[in-house]
Symmetry: none
Subunit: 183 residues, 4 copies
DNA sequence: AATGAATGAGCTTTCATTCAT
DNA sequence: TATGAATGAAAGCTCATTCAT
């Protein structure tokens, strides 16, 4: 993972990985069988890490949909998720998604789960607040904003703050769901 | 460009490009001097294409900031910009931005220009409508949404429509700038 | 010839030659049929140039063997023969002599002719002066010195003068053939 | 080294070297990192080999300058130095000296050292014998003769003998320094 | 469990040569 | 007589993978 962050997923060699680990040339193939498999395992680890934090955040949150939605969105801008090291990995894998069915399957499964959760919470909030916005539009907007803000973080990280990102998300929630997210 | 779309920017070879062009092995280096330069020229072409459409859209739009903002955002979901072929290219280059200063410079210059335009328009709209939202938060939210929606387009393009994407953006505008963007 | 001097015989390309001539890519093959042939023609020109000056020097010299020997040796350190541009060419071709029979034939023919002339002159001088040195040893020594001094000229040309080189040759002649070459 | 001798330094390929070693294509780059570096290491080995023999010869020689000068010059025509295999290498590298600063540095350093040693010995001999020749002229003549005789060895090796070469050198010494080198 | 020398396919790049114009 | 785009073989180099130790 350090190597991907440093050289990009398209440029790392098994030699880099072995050197980073302080071990010998052939070691990666010994433990991971192939480079492809090493990368796949890396993505699985990354997705698993995210999923664990996601579920923990939902667990911790109260029962109200608005609280739960806030918890889920806030998680994406907490340091344990939203840091250069991990974001670099996500974008690295996403950039390969088209060419590698293995990555696609893993990413799509997770995206669908995430979207489902957000969609259900939005639906509940809209029903409760009798808002006119459609649940799918809100879900699209929210998930798209998260991805877009992550991308901004990666590209210009010096002029970027987690707080400003969360503000942008909140600017949406406060206007679209004003009763549930007062200013 | 076809080759990047098909195999990913990390996997194309000059052989692929030559074959796609129906020409011989050495032809790419003859005209482009190196693979790096070919890719750089490709990015420049892509950025130039976008810029031309962007400026044309602004030109065509009326003088009012809201009209201009709408024109700029709508452009990002028109078929001539938001199609798989071109989005694949953008994400391909973005994924290499960290490792390649050449790409970074080209992309950053454009991003800054785009953000400036949107920020000025939001500032004007907020002043005119006496909205309470901050211009930077709105700009962040809007540009992030665009990027995030493009990404969604690329990843699950079958269950994705340009219209739904534009709806998501409009859902934000209508709630944040209700006087300028009535439902 | 300029190109060989600048980049070395192993690095020139027909592109370099064409550019130097201010003409187009394919021009060399049009006039010289192949790169090999171009180089062969270059060597023939160089050897012909030397031969012409050699014969002119012998022609100009008086009838006495010592005069003739001096003329022949002095020629090798005259600016029209012993200049960087031409020496570079000689050594360039010599370095390829082993691998290219064509070059070998041209060079050997000339070397043999040169050696013959010097040998005959030395023989005549030795007989005339009743020197004890063998004619072949003297010939070897003189031709070797010329080649060695040329090489020194090429390698450290700033700290090297034609006069000093001729002095070295004369130091040999004066000691070995003292009656014919008084100090 | 065998390959250079066989095909010339301008024509060898890493494939040739690998085949000669009975190993696979990529092996040279594995051990030597690049073709350039392989050639540089070869030159360093050659120069180191010469230097070791040179210093051993001086060590073995008696204390008298004439003995030492003889030892140094004789070394250049001993089979362990003056054989086709090694001479080919020297001329191969010399032919590239102009284009390759790396080679130049190594060769110049050695040349200067060699010239210094010979110059000091000649100076001592001239002082001792009160000869009229200048030390620099004698040094030039001797080093040039060595180089020239090597070249002759390489070009017409069948009609060339180490003995005849040494005779040529001795013909110079006997006449220029007669008290120190009696016939 | 670990090493690291060795492999060899595949890449980018160079360049002499060809040929329609 | 000249052009220069195009060719394609061959080069140096990289690197995932193998395997005897």
């Amino acid at each position: 993972m350090k190597c991907i962050g440093r050289k990009g997923i398209g440029s790392i060699t098994l030699g880099d990985v072995a050197k980073e680990a302080g071990l010998s040339q052939g070691i990666v193939n010994l433990h991971f069988h192939s480079k492809d498999n090493l990368l796949k395992e890396t993505l699985l680890w990354l997705a698993g890490d995210y999923k664990a934090q996601f579920e923990a955040a939902l667990e911790r949150a109260g029962p109200k949909p608005a609280e739960r939605l806030h918890a889920v969105l806030a998680l994406d801008f907490k340091p344990s998720i939203c840091n250069r090291e991990k974001l670099v990995l996500w974008f690295a894998f996403w950039s390969e998604v088209r060419a590698r069915p293995t990555y696609r399957k893993i990413c799509e499964a997770w995206d669908n789960y995430y979207d489902d959760v957000v969609l259900q919470l939005c639906t509940a909030i809209i029903k409760d607040g009798q808002y006119s916005v459609s649940a799918t539009a809100a879900t699209s907007a929210l998930t798209a904003m998260t991805d877009g803000l992550w991308q901004a973080c990666l590209i210009n990280s010096q002029s970027w703050s987690r707080q400003a990102a969360m503000d942008a998300v909140m600017s949406y929630l406060q206007h679209v769901f004003p009763k549930h997210f007062p200013a």
